[in-house]
Symmetry: C2
């Protein structure tokens, strides 16, 4: 319990109640060691998450990491996925589009290489957060470049393909507000049009969601102008990439609730979607877990 | 002349006069062929730019591509750089931070590998646009992912290092509005602070500039809120990554002058800086070329 005291303190201070809690993305480190070591590492990391979420079920809901090894068949991630969801009650998992750690050696997310895991995700009703791990490429800093590039790259892979025709029930969450995507929303609308794809809303936004880990008000404000409110999920990455206090505001950079609260164009209903409603829709097992604990969804 | 008729038509229609004209970034293709082929390709591409800018000196000013080959010493790019500037009157060049075409196999821009070209750029008073070329990585789409990732990665490399202590006169332009950078301006301010670097203004913004190739109004509006006006250079990438008409506005996505014109918070003086003044400061040889043609800088 002592290990999560900082998180519990920040929940209280910043006004959140429940954290969807996973192993640190940077610690997944799929490129480190052997495939067997990676299998064990995923298991012990997930067991620790399970322990915290069992001890503090009102504060934390569990999301897992998958064992993925560069070049290994994705089928080998399935036993751990099934254990997490069926035995341990996990409500989601992280899926790393680049287990090579910054060299992008895997096929795009639309490739049939990934289909076995998608079939299982749909069957189990769990969404995947598309999140890279640390970078072993000296040109690419992990939290300042690789994370955001991972988000941008994944979104463009999905735009190029037609994955959700094959998996209409599959749900992806892209972190860090979608990397470069909302800032270049016009570019992506234009690329989709040039490629004869349907508009983004129809093509991707029934299946792709963005979190709000964007650490200044103008970024969150932009997001709310271009991304439909149904596609934004509150997140604050605490404790994560940026730990300091913004001298321009006197608050922590990653205290993102403040930014969402400040956007005047959002209604109370919009804010409820961003803070809770959308997450309960995208993570149906989270919704059921909460309902079982006496917290049904708002009608 | 016929080959640039589309550009001349768009200059008139959209209200620009002079285009800083380089070979297409995607066509640099540094990863294709042998090093010798790359040397020849840079030369013929640059000669074609020179020809256009000589025929139409009031419409086009020349910027070149460098021969860069994955793994080759950067010194081998210097003879072409010298030819371009000293013999052909070029005012700038593109520098590719990833000649491997999407696999990021070069050292970061702050590494001493790059120092010989920086010494020459400073000596010749030409800025470098930091621009990747096409991607040969099937996971990474060139205009929808690799370009923006290149911008984000380069900015983070510069943030991590102290390059401009060694080269206070070196100037870099980062295209596409800086990739993900303005959307994540708070993240970068926070990362710099956590890394005990000076604030971004002091650390990087005397040397790093961003263009306005962002294809919707909310993106340009965000940029003007976080990036100092002295660091924004007008650009429209015509004809470039996105060629269509935005159904939401009825105008071309890449008609970026309209977006800059719409930002009410900008004064006429600010707009003059973005459209002309900053470019004349960052590209001193462009300023002199214009002055010689009877167009001195505004006092």
């Amino acid at each position: 319990m002592k290990s999560v005291e900082p998180q519990l303190k920040l929940q209280k201070e910043r006004g959140s109640d429940l954290t969807v809690f996973s192993p640190r993305a940077s610690g997944m480190a799929h490129h480190v060691g052997t495939e067997e070591v990676g299998q064990q590492w995923a298991r012990v990391s997930n067991d620790l998450i399970h322990r915290i979420c069992t001890l503090l079920p009102d504060n934390f809901a569990p999301v897992g990491q998958l064992p993925q090894f560069p070049g290994a068949p994705i089928e080998r991630s399935i036993p751990e996925l099934e254990r997490l969801v069926k035995e341990l009650g996990f409500v989601g998992v992280n899926l790393n589009p680049d287990p090579s750690g910054g060299y992008w050696k895997s096929p795009p997310l639309t490739d049939r290489y990934w289909y076995p895991i998608y079939e299982k995700l749909v069957e189990l009703e769990v969404p995947a957060m598309i999140h890279v791990t640390s970078s072993c490429n000296p040109a690419v800093h992990h939290t300042g470049a690789h994370y955001l590039n991972g988000d941008t790259t994944a979104f463009m892979q999905l735009l190029q393909g037609d994955l959700f025709k094959d998996f209409p029930g599959l749900k992806f969450v892209i972190p860090h507000g979608g990397g470069a995507v909302p800032f270049h929303w016009g570019r992506y609308r234009g690329l989709a049009q040039d490629m004869k794809k349907p508009p983004l809303g129809e093509h991707l936004l029934g299946n792709v969601f963005f979190d709000t880990c964007v650490y200044h008000y103008p970024g969150i404000e932009l997001m709310t102008k271009v991304v439909p409110v149904d596609n934004m999920l509150f997140a604050s990455e605490m404790l994560g990439a940026v730990k300091g206090i913004d001298p321009e505001t006197g608050f922590h950079f990653d205290d993102t609730k403040r930014y969402v609260d400040q956007v005047k164009a959002l209604s109370d209903g919009d804010r409820h979607k961003i803070f809770e409603g959308n997450a309960r829709r995208v993570y149906p097992r989270l919704d059921r877990r909460l309902a079982q604990r006496g917290k049904p969804a708002r009608k």
